[in-house]
């Protein structure tokens, strides 16, 4: 007797969004089914990985994370080039951690110059991620938007407290923006509505659901991302039909599981492998939940994820 496979009927699709400019631009989104459900729909643009570059040498990374980049930590431009040339990065995410008032509090102008240099050196799409400080990000990202006019950057995170000012600058200088909300489908939708009201084009918006590492509440992240995709694909919720970006590397590498030395706690096993595995596995969970862009750090973890994406999409 023939068994009929149950099928989900999809009524919506994710908007394809083109990031960056020129021949190295990248398109994400466009899915017409749940992630990797190629037997039910299409995934015309496979998920992409953006490699991290920091605007100042990071102080608290475990050795394993530092090793691949130890010759370029002081130079964001060289770092970005290394990611592209040595590790085949399709996108770069420049983390402006040093602009945080609780960190080095670098000025908006300095940050914008760094971004400009990286943007000119790297021909791939460039994500510029602020420090997360609502007021400082407003100042920094507005300046970045202006200084890097025409580069079609991806600027984030924009939150309820600063979306208007950064959004207006991004629209004026033609950049893509990342709408960031704290783990809630309704809050995510509300911010997207506000973006629409502000006049942000639907082809210049991607969503950050806020993510965390395995062991630090990733189940909750998974459930929120899954609900966003269900609403977008099966409930025609137009305000949620945007690609999802996940800034996951910094979440995994700051955990004690990635940092504690094997000598200190032998039960945890090989330190060198541990951080990579945690980054790769957390990233995989997010891919299955619906991530379109992963911001990753370690070349080995990235290699693993690329293989998995390739396996699942071919």
């Amino acid at each position: 007797m023939a068994i009929e496979t149950p099928r989900i009927s999809y009524t919506g699709s994710i908007r394809p969004i083109t990031l960056g400019a020129g021949d190295k631009s990248v398109t994400v989104g466009g899915e017409t089914s749940y992630p990797f459900y190629l037997f039910e729909g299409a995934m015309p643009n496979p998920p992409r990985i953006a490699m991290e570059v920091y605007d100042a040498p990071p102080a608290d990374w475990p050795d394993e994370a530092v090793a691949p980049f130890k010759d370029v930590l002081n130079d964001p431009v060289a770092w970005a080039k290394k990611c592209i040339n040595d590790y085949g990065a399709e996108m770069i995410c420049l983390q402006l951690a040093s602009t945080d008032p609780n960190d080095a509090n670098r000025s908006a102008e300095e940050a914008a110059q760094t971004v400009k240099q990286v943007a000119e050196a790297a021909n791939v799409p460039l994500i510029v991620w602020g420090s997360g400080n609502v007021e400082k990000d407003t100042e920094v990202l507005r300046t970045v938007a202006e200084v890097c006019q025409g580069k079609h950057l991806i600027l984030g995170p924009l939150v309820e407290g600063n979306y208007k000012k950064i959004g207006a600058a991004a629209m004026a200088y033609k950049h893509t923006i990342i709408a960031s909300t704290p783990l809630d489908i309704n809050l995510a939708k509300q911010l997207n509505i506000l973006m629409g009201n502000l006049g942000v084009s639907e082809s210049e918006l991607i969503m950050d659901p806020l993510v965390s590492s395995i062991g630090y509440g990733i189940e909750y992240v998974y459930s929120v991302m899954e609900r966003i995709r269900m609403a977008a694909l099966t409930q025609q919720d137009e305000k949620l039909q945007f690609p999802l970006i996940c800034n996951i590397a910094r979440e995994t590498w700051k955990t004690k599981e990635a940092k504690v030395a094997e000598a200190e706690d032998p039960k945890l096993g090989d330190t060198a492998k541990r951080g990579i595995m945690l980054e790769a596995m957390s990233s995989m969970v997010l891919l299955v939940a619906g991530a379109d862009i992963l911001i990753m750090r370690h070349p080995e973890a990235i290699k693993l994820i690329r293989e998995m994406i390739s396996d699942l999409t071919n």
Binding site: E160, D184, N186, I193
Partner: protein, 665 residues
Amino acid sequence: MIWCVPDNGIRRLVLFAYAERQMNRFMGVKKYKVVFKPDDVAVDVEDGDNLLELARKAGVALTASCGGDGVCGTCKVLIEKGETESLPGMQLDPGEVAMGLRLACQCLVRGDLVVIVPETSRMATGGGRRALATAEELMAVTGWTHAPPISKVYLELVPPTLEDNSSDLTRLERELAKHNIDDYRVELGFLRKLPHVVREGGWKVTITVLREPSGSRLTRIEPGDTRNRLFGLAFDIGTTGVRGELLDLNEGKVLSRGVEYNGQRIYGDDVISRIAYSGKPDGMAKLQQAVVATMNRIIAEMTQRAQVPAGDLSYLTVAANTTMIQLFLGIDPKYLRLAPYVPSAGVLPMFPVRALGIDVPEHVYGYTIPSVASYVGGDIVSGLVGTGIYQRQETVLYIDIGTNGETVVGNADWMVSASCSAGPAFEGGGISCGMLATEGAIEGFHYDPKIKQPTLTTIGGAKPRGICGAGLIDIVSGLLTAGIINQKGKFQSESDPRVRSGVEGLEYLLTPAGETDINKDIVITEIDIENLIRAKAAMYAGYQTLLKSVGLTFQDLDKVIIAGTFGSHLDIEEAITIGLMPDIDRNKFFFIGNGSLLGARLSSFSSELIEAGRRVARMVTNIELSENGDFMSHYIASMFLPHTDSSLFPEASRRLMELSKGGIH
């Protein structure tokens, strides 16, 4: 603060005005007729009456932003026919005067009049849209007979002689038997009075009889015939506000009303914090005394205004949520908030009121309307009885907009209830310039985009003193449609001349200090707006979850009955615009004002309704929203104006969209 008579100065003015009117009446004052158009309302007036006051009494909605001082020029009317005496107002130019325009507040009647109220002078009820005035009579329960649970019988006893030497009480019994009262209870206090009163009255006495479920009780004996003096009190003890009515139980009417903030407020804003406080040393006693003190102040004010001595009161009906009832009676409310959340008693016996500290004589007995569950109290049962939902076949959603956000859906055959904590915003609590819906509270807001200025209306037309719940709804809706706040309730038009930076962040100036009655700027802050959004989100999520749990949609409802004490009217369009009310056929909505007090009053007039209350309380099934996974998600989705899911608010969203398109350039 007691409504109507804020201080002694005004009280004196009122007395003077009253004395003057009485004198004029005695001297034979000329009487005229005034017709207001286009309402076609006619009123009988006396020579020299003020036109604005007349309009208000006649229910003609006339704006007067300044409260009738002749400075704002908003109460312009056209005198089509007749003679007036008018002070030369600064707000009218000679051309307008020649046309027959006058400021109603500066206009005294000197003959029969026909007055046209132009659209621009109409109260800001939302540009000609349907504003729901309180219409409890439209929805009130029907088919009951007037038979209060307390009544008086007049008896003429046969005086004793040496031959017929049976006791005073036996003589009383013989006469009572003739009125079919043969099984009754008496208190020792009654017997102590008996020998003196029968002789003082020359063996003619009036007995007050309380009908309890278990039989009759003789509560009072008075000399002579006092049957025409039978008075009672009805109270709604809200978590935030306490409201009372003094009732003539013979006539079935209200003699006076009073309202005050609940004195327990200083111990916590909501029932949970009150219950927590009651567990502290002396906490229970302090809470009990606080609410009793509030009630005593209201009783004193009402008895004085109605000219009924407290000694003539016979009966008290209280409707309140379960926590308020238990705190009032001194029953530990601790277990109300511990799973599985059961109250100490649903139906309570009638009780002597004085023992609780209420300033009434010993003979006054009280009754509390029974509750359904810990968080669905007698106030809701009272509203269900008062509006007669339990008699109707049509499916009704009953919404009590207040601190505890209770809702009930059902009809004569079934009812399901739920409650959610909305917080005190609808009664002005937690709002920087918030107040109860009393005289001077801003309750209407109409924004004119052309001049970028709002027009405000207050309860009673007085100078503004603060913002009540209805005003809050109107203001937030108005600021949203004007594009001054965004759908999250945050100010986005910082260039508006009235948006400024205040102590709590951005705020919108409603009335500058000089035009208020409190000599302080009246503003609405971003935090106030957020509090209102939380409150409305809880309400909407509450009844959305309730309907879903019984498998109904908003379209299945025949009527939506709204109860609440947040204002004298509810502009339904504004309430839908902010997402407080569902976006369905506007004609399905009815606003009844204080449903709890309505039921308490009617239950004082008829034992049948007391019995109905017991039936309703047994009939309602309660669902716990705190145990419901959907509620939290619905709540967050509702924290948006009007709602995150715009398909739930098609009309309101369409209107907002049109306005925003029109407002961009």
